[in-house]
C-alpha cells in the first residue's frame, strides 16, 4: 500500500513540496521539544560545539547526536515512509540540524537557492530527485515569523534557469510561505527554489531538519555518525540511513516503522 495518497503525490510532483499538518502528536511534540531544549542548552553552554551563531540564524548541526528522540525522528511514521516512496528504497541521510531563527534578523533576496544545483554537479536535476529536505516545526510559524518560502514548480526548471533578483526573500513573485502549527512537518525537493524569510514576529522560529538523499551519496561534512550514534543504529534501515551499508549494491532496508 502506498504511503502517499494520489493527491499528495500529484501535489508533490507538480509543486515540489508537501505539508503534513499534525505530523507529530501532542505527546511526541512535547518529547521532541524537550529533547531539542536539552540540546540547545548544551550547545549554548559549550561554544566549542560546532554550529552557526549569527544574530539572524542559529544552527546546531548533526542534531541526532544530541538525543535519542532526535535520532528516532529520522524515521517518523507520518513523514519518513512518504519520503522513502519519493526517493526510493535506497534512501540515505545527507544532513540533519536544528534551526533557530530569532526575531529581528535581516535576510536579503540572495537567500533564494536550491540545495542541489551547485552542490551536486553532474546530475540533470530537472528530471532527477536527489534530495528531499524534511522540516519539523517545533513552534507555530506565522507568515511573518520566518517561514520557509518556496517557489512551487521550480524543481523541474532547467538547471541553468536564472534565479530572479529580489531585494528581500518575501518579494519573490509567486513565493509561498510554509506557515504551519507546531507539530506539523513539511518537505520539499532539493531542487526546489526556497529561502528563509525574515522573522518579523515576536516568536523565535524553531525547526528540526532532516535532509534525505540516496545511500550512495556522501553525508554532509562533519555529519558522519559518531561511534556512539553508529552503535545506536541497530536496525538495517537505521544503518542504511547513516551510510553504514554498501553504497551501490546489496539489498535495501525494509521499512521498520
Amino acid at each position: 500500500m502506498s504511503a502517499l495518497s494520489d493527491e499528495q503525490r500529484r501535489f508533490f510532483d507538480a509543486n515540489g513540496y508537501l505539508m503534513i499538518p499534525g505530523a507529530l502528536s501532542a505527546a511526541e511534540l512535547a518529547a521532541v521539544r524537550g529533547a531539542a531544549n536539552e540540546a540547545e542548552s548544551r550547545w549554548r553552554e559549550d561554544p566549542a560545539l560546532p554550529g552557526t551563531r549569527i544574530p539572524e540564524f542559529e544552527e546546531i548541526p548533526a542534531i541526532m547526536e544530541y538525543h535519542p528522540a532526535l535520532f528516532d525522528l529520522v524515521e517518523h511514521p507520518a513523514v519518513f515512509p512518504l519520503i522513502r516512496e519519493l526517493l526510493g528504497t535506497g534512501i540515505g541521510l545527507v544532513d540533519h540540524a536544528y534551526y533557530i531563527t530569532p526575531p529581528g534578523g535581516l535576510i536579503d533576496g540572495t537567500a533564494w537557492h536550491t540545495d542541489v544545483r551547485t552542490r551536486v554537479p553532474g546530475v540533470h536535476h530537472a528530471g532527477s530527485t536527489m534530495m528531499i529536505r524534511a522540516m519539523f516545526a517545533l513552534t507555530d510559524i506565522a507568515a511573518d515569523g520566518g517561514a520557509t518560502l518556496v517557489l512551487p514548480g521550480t524543481h523541474r526548471q532547467p538547471d541553468d534557469t536564472p534565479i530572479p533578483l529580489v531585494a528581500t526573500p518575501e518579494e519573490m513573485p509567486g513565493a509561498v510561505a510554509l506557515t504551519c502549527a507546531a507539530g506539523s512537518a513539511y518537505f520539499f525537493n532539493g531542487n526546489l527554489l526556497h529561502a528563509p524569510s525574515n522573522n518579523r514576529g515576536a516568536v523565535t522560529r524553531r525547526v528540526l531538519l532532516y535532509n534525505y538523499g540516496h545511500k550512495w551519496m556522501r553525508m554532509w561534512r562533519d555529519h558522519e555518525p559518531s561511534l556512539r550514534l553508529a552503535a545506536a543504529a541497530r536496525t538495517p534501515m537505521r544503518r542504511q540511513l547513516l551510510g553504514l551499508t554498501a553504497p551501490y549494491k546489496g539489498p535495501d532496508a525494509e521499512l521498520s516503522t
Binding site: G90, V120, G122, V123, H124, W216, R221, P247
Partner: protein, 255 residues
C-alpha cells in the same frame, strides 16, 4: 572549460558513450607501469590476505593505487585525466581502481551490464561516472576485449537491453581490442561486457573509475592512511575523497 578535450572527442563521447585514446601511455610509462603491475601481481598471488577476486574467469587486484607510486600517479595521467575532468567537471573524485587480469579460457556468459541504474537519477541527461581502462598488454581480437554498445548510454534508467550467452554475439557489440599503451573511456550508462578470452594471452587492464566528490566511494577503496599521507596536493586529496563533499571543488591547472 578544459581545453584538453577536442570538440570532436567531446561530440564522439556524448553520442557514442565511449572514447579510445591511442598511445595514451608512452613506451617508458608503459614499461614502468608494467613493472609495478607485475610486482604487485606476484605479491598478490603469494599473499592471499590481499583483497581482490580470484576466479578462473577473472583476477582482480583490488585497490591498485595502494601498491606503487606509478600506479598512484596514473590517477592524474596528463593525457587522460584532463579528459575525465572535462567530462565530469572540477568536482571529480575517485570511486574505485583495480588491476584486471583475464586468463585465457575465461568465458563471460550474460556479461552485459550497465554500471549504474540508480533510482532518482535522470540517467540519459546526467553523467555520474567515467571509467578509464589502460591496456597493459596487446589485446588480440579474440582476447577478451571489453565490448561496448555504442549509444547505449542514453537509454533511460530501468531499461532492460538484450543480453547474450556469448557476449561477442550481441548485435552492435564493439570490441576494444587495442595495443598496449592505449586507453579507453566509457561512462556509467554505457552498456558493456568483458569478452570471452579465446586467445593464448592474458588480458591485462588497469581500471580507474571517477565520479563526483559528493558520491560515496566503495568502502573497500577508501584510501589507507599511508596512501592518504601521500596525497599532498589539494587536487589529490579531493580525488581520494578527503575534502568537503558538498563544498567548492579545488582549482585545476588547465592543460
Amino acid at each position: 572549460m578544459s581545453q584538453a578535450m577536442s570538440e570532436e572527442q567531446r561530440l564522439f563521447f556524448n553520442t557514442q558513450g565511449y572514447l579510445v585514446v591511442p598511445d595514451a601511455l608512452s613506451i617508458e610509462e608503459l614499461a614502468t607501469l608494467r613493472l609495478e603491475a607485475d610486482a604487485v601481481e606476484a605479491r598478490w598471488r603469494t599473499d592471499l590476505s590481499l583483497p581482490g577476486v580470484r576466479r578462473p574467469d577473472l583476477e582482480q587486484v583490488l585497490g591498485i593505487m595502494e601498491h606503487g607510486p606509478a600506479l598512484f600517479d596514473l590517477l592524474e595521467h596528463p593525457r587522460i585525466f584532463p579528459l575525465v575532468r572535462a567530462l565530469l567537471g572540477p568536482d571529480v573524485m575517485m570511486l574505485d581502481h583495480d588491476y584486471f587480469i583475464t586468463p585465457p579460457g575465461a568465458t563471460i556468459p550474460q556479461g552485459w551490464h550497465f554500471d549504474f541504474d540508480l533510482p532518482g537519477v535522470d540517467h540519459p541527461r546526467s553523467r555520474l561516472m567515467v571509467k578509464v581502462f589502460y591496456v597493459l598488454a596487446d589485446i588480440p581480437p579474440d582476447g577478451g576485449a571489453t565490448l561496448v554498445l555504442p549509444g547505449s548510454h542514453i537509454t533511460p534508467g530501468g531499461t532492460v537491453l538484450p543480453n547474450s550467452e556469448v557476449p561477442e554475439k550481441l548485435p552492435g557489440a564493439l570490441p576494444m581490442n587495442l595495443p598496449a599503451g592505449s586507453a579507453y573511456l566509457i561512462n556509467d550508462r554505457t552498456y558493456h561486457s568483458a569478452g570471452n578470452n579465446c586467445s593464448s594471452v592474458h588480458r591485462r587492464l588497469l581500471i580507474y573509475t571517477y565520479g563526483h566528490k559528493w558520491m560515496r566511494m566503495w568502502d573497500e577503496y577508501r584510501p589507507s592512511p599511508e596512501l592518504a599521507a601521500l596525497a599532498v596536493t589539494p587536487q589529490r586529496r579531493q580525488l581520494l575523497g578527503l575534502t568537503d563533499p558538498y563544498g567548492p571543488p579545488v582549482a585545476w591547472e588547465e592543460t
